[in-house]
Symmetry: C2
Subunit: 291 residues, 2 copies
């Protein structure tokens, strides 16, 4: 499918793309690009056979590459596009895997003054608490959702090619507007992360925290699992998508007000209805999730 | 340890107590008590060998029993104590396994005008989303925390005996005041449940709900797992412990206000600090949880 795939940022996602591409034989060669500080990770990637080689020089990294994947945290994408700009190849396809998509469109505008028509923003909804190439696997995208968010100027042929690419890696591809993507992910991912961080931060500041945590059980463990996510990555995501996230925080506070009022006024019927509706809604989610 | 154990409410917890007592040979016989509507479940418990027999008549059920375990939802405990009152045996030990403890003390006051000195309220911090005797197991309490909350009038010998009883079932027993128990559990269990119910209720009411849920992933699945808990049981718990829960809801809203303000004012350092603090606090929880 490609002659040379260049992966910028060979971490969990970048490494898993490399492993999956190799497994499905979708590129003749795969190279990684990183900064000086990334050398230990890049060397590990090379030693593990995840990439054929790596370069610290961007010109060399992208030379003759027909697909360039930006697999860095979203906050770094603008600086990566700036690095790529002098060597931009109209015949190659560029893509990214950032968790927010309007920010990628905005970054391209900032760097190029427009969105290059061969840049195909994408977001594989797959990940883990772990990070680094060491955690990468060759089936991370299998049966996972992947959203491509083309800009109005993006080449249709490039979108189609990347859709086939991700489908070959096992992903279920959907195509939607970047703004719509960001609204959906704010609800299903960004808000829960913020609430998990908020609750653990709040309880962790209480004097009796060690006693509180001592008696917490598996419900608490699962509810707060995402509060163990990488703070740098989540700072990036939350700031990039704050216009979608802030209204949802406000809506959740209204919802909490409602429950507080039901408790205060002993409105047991409404409280029961709320819990019951939530249980049924979660079952609808599970039915979608498991299929 | 006992001659006849009577379990009132042979569900997940009651059934697991019966199975564990049998496994560790702590009672010569075990009988169940329930209402007419509970017969299918009681019959299943008998067929599975979880209990030797069951009675629908309370006098018969508790006759000659030296330990009576109330394993119903907290909301039913007052009516169970009312049923038990005419047959109250000063020589037996009574216990319950309700998730809130001040409410049990209050129920005893309402029924007896005082708290019987042979009632030893307890809360095994173990459970599951499933319910019914069919889900019961003989090691549910192994390595789990169990809190005994004696009243000031409770016999020390009865508390000691129940501590040994639960330790034989594998639990790690702590003894504390009912009010303190309720404050801790409000933080680690009741608030997370309310927030999970609130978030799924809120998202489930959004017009684009099926699309939101379609793109939710494992983080959302785990965060919202407790929103699938039994609404009747959680209505009971939340109303029984609302005095502890309401202030925590208010504190969480203040915490969410804080994060909202950091986002609005681009205070990335504070946002990063909050996420980092939460991650470290969760690690402290995990260190306690895993040991």
């Amino acid at each position: 499918m490609f002659n040379k795939l260049c992966i910028i940022g060979v971490g969990l996602i970048g490494g898993s793309i490399a492993r999956s591409v190799k497994r499905h034989d979708l590129s003749k060669t795969i190279v990684g690009f990183g900064r000086e500080k990334d050398v230990p990770n890049l060397q590990a990637a090379k030693d593990l056979g995840v990439i054929a080689d790596y370069c610290l020089d961007i010109a060399e990294a992208v030379a003759n590459a027909d697909c360039i994947v930006i697999a860095t945290p979203v906050g770094a994408i603008e600086s990566i596009l700036t690095l790529l700009k002098p060597f931009w190849n109209e015949k190659a396809i560029y893509t990214d895997v950032g968790s927010t998509k309007s920010s990628v469109i905005a970054a391209a505008h900032n760097v190029f003054g427009h969105v290059p028509d061969n840049l195909v923003p994408a977001h594989p909804i797959a990940g883990a608490e772990q990070s680094g190439v060491i955690a990468s696997v060759d089936d991370l995208f299998l049966h996972k959702r992947l959203i491509i968010t083309p800009h109005k100027t993006t080449q249709v042929s490039a979108v189609q090619k990347m859709q086939v690419f991700w489908e070959r890696l096992g992903a279920q591809v959907a195509i939607m507007d970047a703004g719509h993507h960001d609204a959906i992910l704010a609800a299903t991912s960004h808000l829960p992360h913020i609430v998990a961080f908020a609750m653990v931060d709040m309880l962790g500041h209480k004097d009796e925290q060690s006693e509180i945590f001592k008696y917490a059980a598996s419900g608490f463990r699962d509810f707060t699992r995402i509060a163990s996510s990488d703070p740098t990555m989540w700072l990036d995501i939350c700031t990039a998508n704050k216009d979608e996230i802030i209204p949802l925080i406000q809506q959740l506070k209204v919802e909490l007000d409602k429950i507080e009022r039901f408790l205060e006024t002993n409105d047991n019927q409404q409280l029961f209805n709320t819990f019951t509706y939530a249980g049924k809604a979660r079952q609808r989610f599970l039915d979608l999730y498991e299929n």
